[in-house]
Symmetry: C2
Subunit: 377 residues, 2 copies
């Protein structure tokens, strides 16, 4: 097994777990947050920057890299690690969620998905076998099964079709997979508990080295997502990593950790950084606001990141208003650091055996960060 | 005197000089290249990045900062040093050249320049007194006299008008100036030797702590600029810093150092970095070129900058083609490092007493970098 999760401790008060994920590119402390490097770059940051935020495992997108520069190019340059020089671990998604997002430009059938490139309209196909081949060429430490994502508000027939198809496709992925990269299964089933249970049972039967909860963060109300979290993680094997895909806001992460999730990825810290928003210990700051024009304080007085050690809100506001690259860069660096500090705090509380109290204090503060986000990833 | 130039050595074979410019923010080794931080940021770089390229003195633009965020805002935040956290020295231009560039949006008379903001068309005025006040608010170590720039291809009457007006304005600047920032004069006179001599004589009479050659790089052919360089530096006092404004390509800098110039600024390394171009020891590389798709070599095999130590041409090409911020950032960092390495090589040759031979070898290699440049600063 190329990766395995060593569970260190369980919180007595919640379902939270503390572990170490052993990968070919180092040990990753869990619960872990993965910054998203869609096009083999965490937007605006160097890989040295990413490392100094405390990140050790990053996500890259199969769909984007398949189209540009092409998976064979990345492979010829030593895979994602050789291509980027990132010394930590990588996970690639399967492309399933990305093509799902190409509403109107894709056609799904039992074989796979035909779609048009969002760059130039050219036609392409991804099947389970093709997704695995591409992910093998990209060479991440962890790769994902190609799945059919149903979305929010679909009827029962479509929900069951997507769930069943994802199971069949997962088996095809496993059969096509030839490298020693760790292939994770993705539990679908939307917001229907029976459907989720059937999906999880089928996936667990494949005995894969890790499992994700997919099909969340697709437009559903938050309480609907939290309901899936209340039973979803427990459907997955105790000794293997549990990954909640594409989630989420800091409060979502704390809720999911408490429910027994080990791994997270989300574009929020980077996307917010390019839309003038900073995440701080007291909530969100829109740095364009005129009130920060002469504000000499850092984005977050509690933050030890380089942005906060060096720069005032006033300077960052100026950069953002002047459309300077450095504005997005300083905000992104801070936001990713904010997420990694949250994860360190979570892990420290788990190590100390005080996570239950830590989470209770987190909820008692009543700070939330969620809200509408502007630009696309 | 808040700054002074300590001359260390003169090259026996050329007019090149090696010195140390003592400033309130450290000693700057000359000849020196100043990266341009138009809006109080060297585009795409952090100030830590700027420092590690070897830069110690940077330029910021009065015109841009006057409009946004406003000089009083910068002053309230501790001047440029407090605002940016840059630990090195700053020089601000006077705004003269910038408003000169606002063709059609400005009106010049003996009092000063009325112009419309390139942001919103709002009306503003800069006079010698106002420029000095604004530069005092910005708080750079070195500030520049407000001048009237004639441009290339103007008639003799306009040339003499701009030169004479710049002299009168320089006196008004000196009289208005109340801080201990070093105020440099700017010699105008276009491409007419007698006019340059008259300007220089008048400027030297003001006994300012440093002098610039202005009104070059305004569209003239290269040989015309080189002709001014053949006599221009010698018109300036031996013991004071000589600054060639807005120049230039690496070959221009070597020519000007040989002619006795100590200080340079230019947007080229940063602007080229945002238009997919790298400056290397063998010339210019357009990283978009398909030939680099799988090129594992660094931008410049002779370069020790972080970009070249970490990343391949193939990766940088991918980033640029994918419009990723990191592409511009890695190229900019390399290009500024390239300029600073050139300056270090020049200074090392001067220290060794071998600059004449070094320059001869530079010309014998026949590498040139000059060419058309795309986007605006």
């Amino acid at each position: 097994m190329s990766i395995h999760l060593e569970l260190i401790t369980h919180d007595p008060a919640t379902s939270a777990r503390r572990g170490q994920l052993h990968t070919p590119h180092g040990i990753v402390q869990t619960p872990v947050f993965m910054p998203v490097g869609t096009q083999a770059t965490v937007k605006s940051l160097t890989w040295d920057d990413v490392w100094t935020t405390g990140s050790r495992l990053c996500l890259a997108n199969t769909y984007h890299l398949f189209l540009r520069p092409g998976a064979e190019v990345v492979q010829a340059l030593g895979g994602l690690h050789g291509f980027t020089s990132w010394p930590g671990a990588f996970l690639t998604d399967s492309g399933g969620f990305q093509v799902f997002s190409l509403e109107g430009l894709r056609k799904v059938d039992d074989d796979g998905v035909r779609f048009q490139s969002h760059h130039d309209g050219s036609y392409h196909q991804l099947t389970p076998e093709r997704s695995i081949l591409v992910q093998e060429q990209l060479g991440a430490d962890i790769i994902m099964c190609f799945d059919d994502v149903a979305g929010w508000g679909v009827d029962d027939a479509r929900l069951r079709q997507a769930m069943g198809r994802s199971l069949v496709w997962a088996r095809r992925c496993r059969d096509a997979h030839v490298t020693d990269q760790a292939l994770f299964g993705i539990v679908q089933g939307g917001f229907d508990r029976a459907c989720r249970e059937e999906s999880a049972a089928g996936m667990v039967e494949l005995d894969l080295p890790g499992y994700a909860l997919g099909g969340l963060s697709v437009g559903e109300p938050k309480e609907v997502m939290l309901e899936v979290l209340s039973y979803g993680p427990a459907l997955l094997p105790e000794g293997k990593p549990r990954y909640l895909m594409g989630v989420g806001w800091p409060e979502d992460i704390v809720a999911a950790v408490s429910a027994g999730v080990d791994m997270f990825d989300c574009v929020l810290p980077t996307r917010l950084g390019r839309t003038a928003a900073a995440l701080t210990s007291t909530g969100r700051v829109n740095i364009r606001n005129a009130r920060y024009e002469r504000d000499e304080s850092p984005l977050d007085a509690d933050c030890d990141c380089t942005t906060c050690q060096r720069h005032s809100r006033a300077y960052i506001r100026h950069l953002v208003k002047a459309n300077e690259i450095l504005g997005a860069r300083l905000l992104t660096y801070h936001n990713v650091s904010f997420y990694q500090r949250l994860m360190r705090d979570i892990r420290a509380a788990l190590d100390a055996g005080t996570y239950g109290a830590w989470a209770a204090a987190f909820w008692a503060r009543g700070v939330t960060w969620a809200g509408k986000v502007g630009a696309s990833a």
